[in-house]
Protein backbone atom coordinates (compact mmCIF):
# COMPACT_ATOMS: atom_id res chain seq x y z
CA UNK A 1 0.00 0.00 0.00
CA UNK A 2 2.85 2.36 0.85
CA UNK A 3 4.41 2.06 -2.60
CA UNK A 4 1.01 2.62 -4.24
CA UNK A 5 0.57 5.75 -2.14
CA UNK A 6 4.04 7.08 -3.16
CA UNK A 7 3.29 6.58 -6.87
CA UNK A 8 -0.25 7.95 -6.40
CA UNK A 9 0.95 11.20 -4.79
CA UNK A 10 3.54 11.82 -7.50
CA UNK A 11 1.14 11.11 -10.34
CA UNK A 12 -1.72 13.16 -8.92
CA UNK A 13 0.80 15.97 -8.32
CA UNK A 14 1.70 15.83 -12.01
CA UNK A 15 -1.97 16.23 -13.03
CA UNK A 16 -2.47 19.11 -10.62
CA UNK A 17 0.85 20.88 -11.36
CA UNK A 18 1.05 20.61 -15.11
CA UNK A 19 -1.37 22.30 -17.51
CA UNK A 20 -1.95 18.94 -19.26
CA UNK A 21 -4.69 17.69 -16.92
CA UNK A 22 -6.38 21.06 -16.54
CA UNK A 23 -6.44 21.71 -20.29
CA UNK A 24 -8.12 18.34 -20.86
CA UNK A 25 -10.58 19.06 -18.03
CA UNK A 26 -11.38 22.53 -19.38
CA UNK A 27 -11.94 21.35 -22.96
CA UNK A 28 -14.12 18.39 -21.93
CA UNK A 29 -16.20 20.47 -19.51
CA UNK A 30 -16.67 23.16 -22.14
CA UNK A 31 -17.85 20.65 -24.73
CA UNK A 32 -20.10 18.89 -22.17
CA UNK A 33 -21.54 22.28 -21.15
CA UNK A 34 -22.36 23.29 -24.73
CA UNK A 35 -23.87 19.89 -25.52
CA UNK A 36 -25.92 19.96 -22.33
CA UNK A 37 -27.24 23.41 -23.18
CA UNK A 38 -27.86 22.70 -26.85
CA UNK A 39 -29.08 19.09 -26.70
CA UNK A 40 -30.30 18.17 -23.22
CA UNK A 41 -31.99 21.44 -22.33
CA UNK A 42 -33.54 22.33 -25.67
CA UNK A 43 -37.31 22.61 -25.79
CA UNK A 44 -39.97 21.70 -23.22
CA UNK A 45 -39.57 18.24 -21.73
CA UNK A 46 -39.78 16.33 -18.49
CA UNK A 47 -36.91 17.05 -16.14
CA UNK A 48 -36.18 13.29 -15.87
CA UNK A 49 -35.71 13.24 -19.65
CA UNK A 50 -33.44 16.27 -19.43
CA UNK A 51 -31.33 14.50 -16.79
CA UNK A 52 -31.25 11.35 -18.93
CA UNK A 53 -30.02 13.37 -21.91
CA UNK A 54 -27.50 15.13 -19.67
CA UNK A 55 -25.96 11.82 -18.60
CA UNK A 56 -25.95 10.71 -22.23
CA UNK A 57 -23.84 13.78 -23.05
CA UNK A 58 -21.81 13.63 -19.84
CA UNK A 59 -20.69 10.06 -20.52
CA UNK A 60 -18.26 11.66 -22.98
CA UNK A 61 -16.34 12.97 -19.95
CA UNK A 62 -15.19 9.55 -18.66
CA UNK A 63 -14.95 8.03 -22.15
CA UNK A 64 -12.73 10.72 -23.69
CA UNK A 65 -11.24 11.87 -20.38
CA UNK A 66 -10.33 8.31 -19.45
CA UNK A 67 -8.35 7.81 -22.65
CA UNK A 68 -6.72 11.25 -22.55
CA UNK A 69 -5.71 10.93 -18.91
CA UNK A 70 -4.32 7.41 -19.17
CA UNK A 71 -2.50 7.00 -22.49
CA UNK A 72 0.67 8.71 -21.25
CA UNK A 73 0.83 7.12 -17.80
CA UNK A 74 3.32 4.36 -18.63
CA UNK A 75 4.42 5.19 -22.19
CA UNK A 76 5.71 8.59 -21.09
CA UNK A 77 7.77 6.99 -18.32
CA UNK A 78 9.41 4.75 -20.89
CA UNK A 79 9.86 7.51 -23.45
CA UNK A 80 11.52 9.82 -20.88
CA UNK A 81 13.57 7.00 -19.38
CA UNK A 82 12.13 7.70 -15.92
CA UNK A 83 10.79 4.13 -15.91
CA UNK A 84 14.32 3.05 -14.95
CA UNK A 85 13.84 4.68 -11.54
CA UNK A 86 10.69 2.63 -10.94
CA UNK A 87 12.18 -0.54 -12.40
CA UNK A 88 15.28 -0.40 -10.21
CA UNK A 89 13.31 0.35 -7.04
CA UNK A 90 12.07 -2.41 -4.74
CA UNK A 91 8.41 -2.04 -5.74
CA UNK A 92 6.07 -4.35 -7.60
CA UNK A 93 4.58 -3.69 -11.02
CA UNK A 94 1.12 -3.86 -9.47
CA UNK A 95 2.12 -0.94 -7.21
CA UNK A 96 3.10 1.14 -10.25
CA UNK A 97 -0.10 0.37 -12.15
CA UNK A 98 -2.45 0.83 -9.19
CA UNK A 99 -0.75 4.03 -8.01
CA UNK A 100 -1.13 5.56 -11.46
CA UNK A 101 -4.65 4.23 -11.92
CA UNK A 102 -5.95 5.68 -8.66
CA UNK A 103 -4.25 9.03 -9.37
CA UNK A 104 -5.93 9.24 -12.78
CA UNK A 105 -9.24 8.13 -11.27
CA UNK A 106 -8.96 10.83 -8.60
CA UNK A 107 -8.35 13.50 -11.23
CA UNK A 108 -11.27 12.18 -13.27
CA UNK A 109 -13.43 12.35 -10.13
CA UNK A 110 -12.42 16.02 -9.72
CA UNK A 111 -13.39 16.59 -13.36
CA UNK A 112 -16.78 14.94 -12.79
CA UNK A 113 -17.28 16.94 -9.61
CA UNK A 114 -16.74 20.14 -11.59
CA UNK A 115 -19.61 19.12 -13.88
CA UNK A 116 -22.13 18.72 -11.04
CA UNK A 117 -23.43 22.26 -11.54
CA UNK A 118 -25.35 21.06 -14.61
CA UNK A 119 -27.62 18.48 -12.86
CA UNK A 120 -27.92 20.95 -9.97
CA UNK A 121 -29.43 23.44 -12.45
CA UNK A 122 -31.83 20.74 -13.67
CA UNK A 123 -32.81 19.94 -10.08
CA UNK A 124 -33.43 23.62 -9.26
CA UNK A 125 -35.65 24.10 -12.30
CA UNK A 126 -37.31 20.66 -12.38
CA UNK A 127 -38.31 17.60 -10.39
CA UNK A 128 -35.54 15.10 -10.07
CA UNK A 129 -34.21 13.36 -6.98
CA UNK A 130 -30.67 13.51 -5.60
CA UNK A 131 -30.54 9.70 -5.84
CA UNK A 132 -31.03 9.87 -9.63
CA UNK A 133 -28.09 12.24 -9.90
CA UNK A 134 -25.98 10.15 -7.53
CA UNK A 135 -26.64 6.92 -9.46
CA UNK A 136 -25.76 8.68 -12.71
CA UNK A 137 -22.47 9.91 -11.29
CA UNK A 138 -21.62 6.46 -9.85
CA UNK A 139 -22.12 5.20 -13.39
CA UNK A 140 -19.89 7.92 -14.85
CA UNK A 141 -17.15 7.11 -12.32
CA UNK A 142 -17.36 3.35 -13.00
CA UNK A 143 -17.34 4.00 -16.76
CA UNK A 144 -14.29 6.23 -16.20
CA UNK A 145 -12.52 3.56 -14.13
CA UNK A 146 -13.04 1.00 -16.90
CA UNK A 147 -11.85 3.45 -19.59
CA UNK A 148 -8.77 4.37 -17.56
CA UNK A 149 -7.90 0.69 -17.10
CA UNK A 150 -8.21 0.13 -20.87
CA UNK A 151 -6.06 3.23 -21.50
CA UNK A 152 -3.45 1.97 -19.05
CA UNK A 153 -3.14 -1.25 -21.03
CA UNK A 154 -2.63 0.79 -24.23
CA UNK A 155 0.01 2.79 -22.40
CA UNK A 156 1.74 -0.35 -21.11
CA UNK A 157 1.97 -1.84 -24.58
CA UNK A 158 4.17 0.81 -26.20
CA UNK A 159 6.68 3.54 -25.39
CA UNK A 160 5.29 5.81 -28.13
CA UNK A 161 2.65 8.07 -26.60
CA UNK A 162 0.85 8.68 -29.88
CA UNK A 163 0.55 4.95 -30.57
CA UNK A 164 -0.58 4.41 -26.97
CA UNK A 165 -3.31 7.05 -27.43
CA UNK A 166 -4.52 5.49 -30.69
CA UNK A 167 -4.45 1.96 -29.20
CA UNK A 168 -6.37 3.06 -26.12
CA UNK A 169 -8.97 4.98 -28.13
CA UNK A 170 -9.39 2.04 -30.53
CA UNK A 171 -9.92 -0.45 -27.68
CA UNK A 172 -12.47 1.82 -25.98
CA UNK A 173 -14.29 2.43 -29.27
CA UNK A 174 -14.47 -1.31 -30.05
CA UNK A 175 -15.88 -2.19 -26.62
CA UNK A 176 -18.30 0.75 -26.81
CA UNK A 177 -19.73 -0.19 -30.19
CA UNK A 178 -19.51 -3.96 -29.95
CA UNK A 179 -23.31 -4.05 -29.45
CA UNK A 180 -23.66 -3.23 -33.16
CA UNK A 181 -22.05 -6.59 -33.87
CA UNK A 182 -24.60 -8.29 -31.59
CA UNK A 183 -27.44 -7.47 -34.01
CA UNK A 184 -25.62 -9.38 -36.76
CA UNK A 185 -25.31 -12.68 -34.91
CA UNK A 186 -27.70 -15.14 -33.26
CA UNK A 187 -28.06 -16.18 -29.63
CA UNK A 188 -26.24 -17.25 -27.52
CA UNK A 189 -23.27 -15.36 -29.05
CA UNK A 190 -25.50 -12.29 -29.38
CA UNK A 191 -26.20 -12.29 -25.62
CA UNK A 192 -22.52 -12.67 -24.78
CA UNK A 193 -21.47 -9.79 -27.07
CA UNK A 194 -24.23 -7.57 -25.71
CA UNK A 195 -23.06 -8.11 -22.16
CA UNK A 196 -19.48 -7.13 -23.07
CA UNK A 197 -20.62 -3.71 -24.34
CA UNK A 198 -19.11 -0.87 -22.31
CA UNK A 199 -21.58 1.95 -22.84
CA UNK A 200 -24.84 1.10 -24.58
CA UNK A 201 -26.00 -1.86 -22.53
CA UNK A 202 -24.55 -1.21 -19.08
CA UNK A 203 -24.70 2.59 -18.96
CA UNK A 204 -27.62 3.67 -21.10
CA UNK A 205 -30.10 1.11 -19.79
CA UNK A 206 -29.01 1.46 -16.18
CA UNK A 207 -27.11 4.36 -14.68
CA UNK A 208 -28.28 6.86 -17.30
CA UNK A 209 -31.92 6.42 -16.33
CA UNK A 210 -31.18 6.43 -12.60
CA UNK A 211 -31.34 2.63 -12.11
CA UNK A 212 -28.57 1.02 -10.08
CA UNK A 213 -28.23 -2.58 -11.28
CA UNK A 214 -25.79 -4.78 -9.40
CA UNK A 215 -24.86 -6.57 -12.62
CA UNK A 216 -23.80 -3.26 -14.18
CA UNK A 217 -21.62 -2.44 -11.17
CA UNK A 218 -20.06 -5.92 -11.26
CA UNK A 219 -19.51 -5.60 -15.01
CA UNK A 220 -17.58 -2.31 -14.71
CA UNK A 221 -15.52 -3.57 -11.77
CA UNK A 222 -14.74 -6.78 -13.70
CA UNK A 223 -13.68 -4.86 -16.83
CA UNK A 224 -11.52 -2.56 -14.70
CA UNK A 225 -9.91 -5.51 -12.88
CA UNK A 226 -9.33 -7.41 -16.12
CA UNK A 227 -7.57 -4.54 -17.91
CA UNK A 228 -5.55 -3.56 -14.84
CA UNK A 229 -4.40 -7.17 -14.55
CA UNK A 230 -3.42 -7.17 -18.23
CA UNK A 231 -1.51 -3.92 -17.69
CA UNK A 232 0.37 -5.39 -14.71
CA UNK A 233 1.24 -8.54 -16.64
CA UNK A 234 2.39 -6.48 -19.63
CA UNK A 235 4.58 -4.37 -17.37
CA UNK A 236 6.00 -7.47 -15.68
CA UNK A 237 6.88 -8.94 -19.05
CA UNK A 238 8.59 -5.73 -20.14
CA UNK A 239 10.31 -4.91 -16.84
CA UNK A 240 13.30 -7.19 -17.32
CA UNK A 241 13.71 -6.56 -21.06
Amino acid sequence: MRAISIIYRRELGTYLRSPFGWVIAAILLLIAGFLCQGYAMSGEQLSADVLKKYFYVASALPLFGGVLLSFRLLSEERQNNSMVLLNTSPIRDSHIVLGKFFAALSFLAILLLLSVYMPVMIKINGKITGAQVLVGYIGLLLLGAATLAIGLLGSALTRQQLIAAVLSAAMVAIICFIHLLASKVDSPLKDVIEQVDLWWVHFQYGFMVGVLNLKDVVYYLAITYFFLLLSIKTLEAKRWQ
Binding site: R10, G13, S18, N81, S82, T88, P90
Partner: protein, 317 residues
Protein backbone atom coordinates in the same frame (compact mmCIF):
# COMPACT_ATOMS: atom_id res chain seq x y z
CA UNK B 1 30.94 -8.21 -2.93
CA UNK B 2 29.51 -8.56 -6.43
CA UNK B 3 30.05 -11.92 -8.08
CA UNK B 4 28.99 -12.64 -11.67
CA UNK B 5 29.35 -16.13 -13.13
CA UNK B 6 28.97 -16.92 -16.80
CA UNK B 7 26.66 -13.98 -17.28
CA UNK B 8 25.10 -13.71 -20.75
CA UNK B 9 22.45 -11.57 -22.35
CA UNK B 10 20.81 -12.11 -25.71
CA UNK B 11 18.43 -9.74 -27.48
CA UNK B 12 16.51 -12.06 -29.73
CA UNK B 13 19.23 -14.17 -31.29
CA UNK B 14 21.89 -11.50 -30.92
CA UNK B 15 24.44 -11.81 -28.14
CA UNK B 16 24.92 -8.52 -26.30
CA UNK B 17 27.01 -9.83 -23.42
CA UNK B 18 28.90 -12.85 -22.28
CA UNK B 19 29.54 -15.24 -21.07
CA UNK B 20 31.48 -13.12 -18.58
CA UNK B 21 32.58 -13.80 -15.00
CA UNK B 22 34.03 -11.26 -12.60
CA UNK B 23 34.18 -10.29 -8.94
CA UNK B 24 34.09 -6.84 -7.40
CA UNK B 25 35.20 -6.49 -3.80
CA UNK B 26 33.58 -4.16 -1.28
CA UNK B 27 35.07 -0.68 -1.38
CA UNK B 28 36.55 -1.04 -4.87
CA UNK B 29 36.02 1.42 -7.70
CA UNK B 30 35.84 -0.52 -10.92
CA UNK B 31 35.67 0.91 -14.41
CA UNK B 32 33.89 -0.85 -17.23
CA UNK B 33 35.80 0.25 -20.29
CA UNK B 34 34.81 -0.41 -23.86
CA UNK B 35 33.70 1.04 -27.15
CA UNK B 36 30.05 1.69 -27.92
CA UNK B 37 28.24 -1.66 -28.19
CA UNK B 38 30.85 -3.45 -26.09
CA UNK B 39 28.26 -4.58 -23.54
CA UNK B 40 29.04 -2.10 -20.74
CA UNK B 41 25.50 -0.78 -20.35
CA UNK B 42 24.03 -4.27 -20.59
CA UNK B 43 26.34 -5.49 -17.83
CA UNK B 44 25.52 -2.54 -15.58
CA UNK B 45 21.77 -2.82 -16.18
CA UNK B 46 21.93 -6.49 -15.18
CA UNK B 47 23.83 -5.55 -12.01
CA UNK B 48 21.20 -2.88 -11.23
CA UNK B 49 18.38 -5.46 -11.68
CA UNK B 50 17.00 -3.52 -14.63
CA UNK B 51 17.66 -6.44 -16.99
CA UNK B 52 17.39 -10.17 -16.44
CA UNK B 53 20.41 -12.13 -17.68
CA UNK B 54 19.71 -14.80 -20.32
CA UNK B 55 22.08 -17.15 -18.51
CA UNK B 56 24.45 -17.17 -15.57
CA UNK B 57 24.19 -16.04 -11.98
CA UNK B 58 24.84 -12.78 -10.22
CA UNK B 59 25.19 -12.20 -6.49
CA UNK B 60 25.21 -8.77 -4.92
CA UNK B 61 26.21 -8.74 -1.26
CA UNK B 62 25.49 -12.46 -1.08
CA UNK B 63 21.96 -12.10 -2.51
CA UNK B 64 20.94 -13.71 -5.80
CA UNK B 65 19.90 -10.81 -8.03
CA UNK B 66 17.55 -12.91 -10.17
CA UNK B 67 15.82 -14.74 -7.33
CA UNK B 68 15.55 -11.76 -4.98
CA UNK B 69 15.77 -8.62 -7.13
CA UNK B 70 14.00 -6.37 -4.60
CA UNK B 71 16.61 -7.16 -1.93
CA UNK B 72 19.37 -6.28 -4.37
CA UNK B 73 17.57 -3.11 -5.53
CA UNK B 74 17.58 -1.82 -1.95
CA UNK B 75 21.39 -2.07 -1.89
CA UNK B 76 22.07 -0.49 -5.26
CA UNK B 77 21.99 3.06 -6.54
CA UNK B 78 21.85 3.33 -10.33
CA UNK B 79 22.50 6.25 -12.62
CA UNK B 80 21.67 5.17 -16.18
CA UNK B 81 23.08 6.84 -19.28
CA UNK B 82 20.05 9.15 -19.39
CA UNK B 83 19.15 10.12 -15.81
CA UNK B 84 15.60 9.05 -14.88
CA UNK B 85 14.20 12.49 -14.10
CA UNK B 86 10.76 14.10 -14.00
CA UNK B 87 11.03 17.56 -15.55
CA UNK B 88 7.93 18.86 -13.75
CA UNK B 89 9.18 18.07 -10.23
CA UNK B 90 11.38 20.29 -8.11
CA UNK B 91 14.70 18.77 -7.06
CA UNK B 92 13.89 18.09 -3.38
CA UNK B 93 10.45 16.63 -4.18
CA UNK B 94 12.07 14.34 -6.73
CA UNK B 95 14.75 13.17 -4.29
CA UNK B 96 12.08 12.62 -1.62
CA UNK B 97 10.12 10.53 -4.14
CA UNK B 98 13.23 8.51 -5.11
CA UNK B 99 14.13 7.91 -1.46
CA UNK B 100 10.63 6.74 -0.51
CA UNK B 101 10.56 4.43 -3.54
CA UNK B 102 13.70 2.77 -2.17
CA UNK B 103 11.94 2.07 1.12
CA UNK B 104 12.96 5.11 3.21
CA UNK B 105 10.44 6.71 5.54
CA UNK B 106 9.62 10.41 5.12
CA UNK B 107 11.58 11.14 8.29
CA UNK B 108 14.65 9.25 7.02
CA UNK B 109 14.51 11.11 3.70
CA UNK B 110 14.15 14.43 5.52
CA UNK B 111 17.27 13.72 7.58
CA UNK B 112 19.27 12.45 4.59
CA UNK B 113 18.38 15.20 2.07
CA UNK B 114 20.70 17.98 3.33
CA UNK B 115 23.64 15.58 3.20
CA UNK B 116 22.81 14.45 -0.36
CA UNK B 117 22.36 18.06 -1.52
CA UNK B 118 25.74 18.93 -0.02
CA UNK B 119 27.58 15.95 -1.54
CA UNK B 120 26.16 16.66 -4.99
CA UNK B 121 26.38 20.45 -4.58
CA UNK B 122 22.71 20.94 -5.46
CA UNK B 123 21.88 23.33 -2.63
CA UNK B 124 21.49 26.34 -4.92
CA UNK B 125 18.94 24.65 -7.16
CA UNK B 126 17.15 22.48 -4.62
CA UNK B 127 13.82 24.31 -5.12
CA UNK B 128 14.08 24.62 -8.91
CA UNK B 129 12.03 22.47 -11.29
CA UNK B 130 14.29 19.82 -12.84
CA UNK B 131 13.16 20.86 -16.33
CA UNK B 132 14.83 24.26 -15.91
CA UNK B 133 18.26 22.87 -14.90
CA UNK B 134 21.35 22.69 -17.10
CA UNK B 135 22.64 19.32 -18.31
CA UNK B 136 25.38 19.30 -15.68
CA UNK B 137 22.93 19.90 -12.84
CA UNK B 138 20.55 17.27 -14.19
CA UNK B 139 23.40 14.78 -14.14
CA UNK B 140 24.04 15.74 -10.51
CA UNK B 141 20.37 15.22 -9.68
CA UNK B 142 20.74 11.79 -11.32
CA UNK B 143 23.65 11.01 -9.01
CA UNK B 144 21.69 12.37 -6.03
CA UNK B 145 18.77 10.00 -6.69
CA UNK B 146 21.24 7.12 -6.87
CA UNK B 147 22.76 7.87 -3.45
CA UNK B 148 19.72 9.20 -1.58
CA UNK B 149 19.09 5.85 0.13
CA UNK B 150 22.81 5.49 0.95
CA UNK B 151 23.29 2.28 -1.05
CA UNK B 152 26.33 0.08 -0.58
CA UNK B 153 26.84 -0.29 -4.33
CA UNK B 154 26.74 2.60 -6.77
CA UNK B 155 26.47 2.02 -10.51
CA UNK B 156 27.15 4.97 -12.80
CA UNK B 157 26.69 4.46 -16.53
CA UNK B 158 28.64 7.09 -18.49
CA UNK B 159 28.33 9.72 -15.74
CA UNK B 160 30.25 12.38 -17.70
CA UNK B 161 28.36 11.91 -20.96
CA UNK B 162 27.51 15.24 -22.56
CA UNK B 163 29.23 17.33 -19.88
CA UNK B 164 31.54 20.23 -20.68
CA UNK B 165 35.19 20.11 -19.46
CA UNK B 166 34.46 22.02 -16.24
CA UNK B 167 31.48 19.80 -15.45
CA UNK B 168 33.60 16.70 -16.18
CA UNK B 169 36.15 17.78 -13.58
CA UNK B 170 33.35 18.50 -11.09
CA UNK B 171 31.77 15.10 -11.74
CA UNK B 172 35.17 13.40 -11.35
CA UNK B 173 35.63 15.11 -7.98
CA UNK B 174 32.13 14.03 -6.98
CA UNK B 175 32.94 10.42 -7.86
CA UNK B 176 36.16 10.68 -5.82
CA UNK B 177 34.04 11.75 -2.83
CA UNK B 178 31.56 8.93 -3.41
CA UNK B 179 34.40 6.37 -3.44
CA UNK B 180 34.90 6.94 0.28
CA UNK B 181 31.56 5.40 1.23
CA UNK B 182 30.44 3.24 -1.68
CA UNK B 183 31.58 0.44 -3.93
CA UNK B 184 31.46 2.25 -7.26
CA UNK B 185 31.09 0.80 -10.75
CA UNK B 186 31.53 3.23 -13.62
CA UNK B 187 31.29 2.69 -17.33
CA UNK B 188 32.91 4.91 -19.88
CA UNK B 189 34.68 4.90 -23.18
CA UNK B 190 36.80 7.87 -22.08
CA UNK B 191 40.10 6.32 -21.05
CA UNK B 192 41.49 9.20 -19.02
CA UNK B 193 38.32 9.44 -16.97
CA UNK B 194 38.41 5.74 -16.14
CA UNK B 195 42.11 5.60 -15.40
CA UNK B 196 41.97 8.60 -13.08
CA UNK B 197 38.92 7.44 -11.15
CA UNK B 198 39.10 3.67 -10.85
CA UNK B 199 41.18 1.21 -8.86
CA UNK B 200 40.63 -1.55 -11.38
CA UNK B 201 39.53 -1.77 -15.00
CA UNK B 202 37.40 -4.30 -16.75
CA UNK B 203 37.86 -3.97 -20.50
CA UNK B 204 34.89 -5.15 -22.53
CA UNK B 205 34.65 -5.73 -26.27
CA UNK B 206 31.96 -7.47 -28.28
CA UNK B 207 30.30 -8.57 -25.04
CA UNK B 208 33.38 -10.28 -23.64
CA UNK B 209 35.97 -9.37 -21.03
CA UNK B 210 39.25 -8.63 -22.78
CA UNK B 211 41.28 -7.65 -19.76
CA UNK B 212 40.98 -7.11 -16.01
CA UNK B 213 43.29 -5.29 -13.65
CA UNK B 214 44.84 -1.95 -12.84
CA UNK B 215 46.18 0.27 -15.59
CA UNK B 216 49.69 -1.01 -14.84
CA UNK B 217 48.57 -4.66 -14.75
CA UNK B 218 46.92 -4.34 -18.14
CA UNK B 219 49.93 -2.63 -19.64
CA UNK B 220 52.33 -5.21 -18.17
CA UNK B 221 50.24 -8.12 -19.35
CA UNK B 222 50.41 -6.79 -22.85
CA UNK B 223 54.28 -6.51 -22.88
CA UNK B 224 53.69 -2.87 -23.45
CA UNK B 225 56.05 -0.80 -25.54
CA UNK B 226 56.20 2.46 -23.62
CA UNK B 227 57.31 5.84 -24.69
CA UNK B 228 59.61 8.36 -23.05
CA UNK B 229 59.92 11.84 -24.49
CA UNK B 230 63.06 13.80 -23.81
CA UNK B 231 63.92 17.36 -24.84
CA UNK B 232 67.63 18.21 -25.05
CA UNK B 233 69.38 21.46 -25.94
CA UNK B 234 71.49 20.77 -29.07
CA UNK B 235 75.22 20.80 -28.26
CA UNK B 236 77.66 22.81 -30.35
CA UNK B 237 79.52 20.70 -32.87
CA UNK B 238 79.27 19.30 -36.35
CA UNK B 239 76.56 16.72 -35.76
CA UNK B 240 74.50 17.53 -32.62
CA UNK B 241 71.60 15.27 -33.63
CA UNK B 242 73.90 12.32 -34.24
CA UNK B 243 75.63 12.90 -30.90
CA UNK B 244 72.36 12.93 -29.00
CA UNK B 245 71.03 9.90 -30.84
CA UNK B 246 74.18 7.93 -29.95
CA UNK B 247 73.78 8.77 -26.26
CA UNK B 248 70.07 7.90 -26.16
CA UNK B 249 70.32 4.70 -28.19
CA UNK B 250 72.88 3.34 -25.74
CA UNK B 251 70.50 3.60 -22.76
CA UNK B 252 69.43 0.25 -21.30
CA UNK B 253 65.80 -0.44 -22.24
CA UNK B 254 65.60 1.93 -25.22
CA UNK B 255 64.54 0.06 -28.33
CA UNK B 256 64.21 2.91 -30.76
CA UNK B 257 64.84 6.62 -31.15
CA UNK B 258 62.49 8.56 -33.43
CA UNK B 259 63.63 11.51 -35.52
CA UNK B 260 63.62 14.65 -33.38
CA UNK B 261 61.73 17.85 -33.89
CA UNK B 262 62.31 21.27 -32.44
CA UNK B 263 60.32 22.28 -29.40
CA UNK B 264 60.88 24.78 -26.58
CA UNK B 265 64.40 25.73 -27.65
CA UNK B 266 65.52 22.11 -27.83
CA UNK B 267 65.17 18.90 -29.77
CA UNK B 268 62.39 16.57 -28.69
CA UNK B 269 63.08 12.85 -29.04
CA UNK B 270 60.45 10.15 -28.53
CA UNK B 271 62.02 6.91 -27.32
CA UNK B 272 60.37 3.49 -27.58
CA UNK B 273 61.27 1.58 -24.43
CA UNK B 274 60.49 -1.75 -22.80
CA UNK B 275 60.20 -0.18 -19.35
CA UNK B 276 59.95 3.17 -17.63
CA UNK B 277 63.60 4.19 -18.05
CA UNK B 278 63.43 7.90 -17.31
CA UNK B 279 66.14 7.59 -14.63
CA UNK B 280 68.53 5.83 -17.01
CA UNK B 281 67.87 8.40 -19.74
CA UNK B 282 68.51 11.34 -17.42
CA UNK B 283 71.77 9.78 -16.17
CA UNK B 284 72.95 9.09 -19.72
CA UNK B 285 72.14 12.63 -20.85
CA UNK B 286 74.09 14.16 -17.95
CA UNK B 287 77.02 11.78 -18.42
CA UNK B 288 77.05 12.62 -22.13
CA UNK B 289 77.43 16.29 -21.12
CA UNK B 290 74.15 17.25 -22.73
CA UNK B 291 71.64 19.80 -21.36
CA UNK B 292 68.35 18.17 -20.34
CA UNK B 293 65.37 20.53 -20.77
CA UNK B 294 62.45 18.18 -20.26
CA UNK B 295 61.85 14.50 -19.63
CA UNK B 296 58.44 12.89 -19.66
CA UNK B 297 56.85 9.49 -19.57
CA UNK B 298 54.28 9.35 -22.32
CA UNK B 299 50.86 8.51 -20.82
CA UNK B 300 49.53 6.73 -23.83
CA UNK B 301 49.99 3.19 -22.55
CA UNK B 302 46.37 2.73 -21.60
CA UNK B 303 45.18 3.90 -24.97
CA UNK B 304 47.64 1.52 -26.61
CA UNK B 305 46.52 -1.36 -24.44
CA UNK B 306 42.89 -0.57 -25.01
CA UNK B 307 43.24 -0.30 -28.76
CA UNK B 308 45.23 -3.52 -28.89
CA UNK B 309 42.72 -5.38 -26.69
CA UNK B 310 39.71 -4.13 -28.61
CA UNK B 311 41.47 -4.57 -31.94
CA UNK B 312 42.21 -8.17 -30.95
CA UNK B 313 38.55 -8.76 -30.16
CA UNK B 314 37.52 -7.31 -33.50
CA UNK B 315 40.04 -9.44 -35.33
CA UNK B 316 38.88 -12.61 -33.61
CA UNK B 317 35.22 -11.96 -34.49
Amino acid sequence: MIRASNLSKFYGGKRALGPVSFEIKDGETVGFLGLNGAGKTTALRILACDLRPSAGTIEVGGVDAVAEPHEVRKRIGFLPENPPLYADMIVTDYLRFAGELRGMTREQVKRRLPEVLEITDLGDVSTDPIGTLSHGYRQRVGVAQAIVHDPKFLILDEPTRGLDPVQIVEMRNLIHDLKQNHTVLISSHILTEISQTCDRLLVLGRGKILGVGSEQDLAASESEIRQVSVTIRPPSGDDPKGQIRTVLAAVDGVQGVADPYEQGGGLLYVLSTTKDCRAEVSRAVVQGKLDLIKLDYARSELENTFIRLVGGADASN
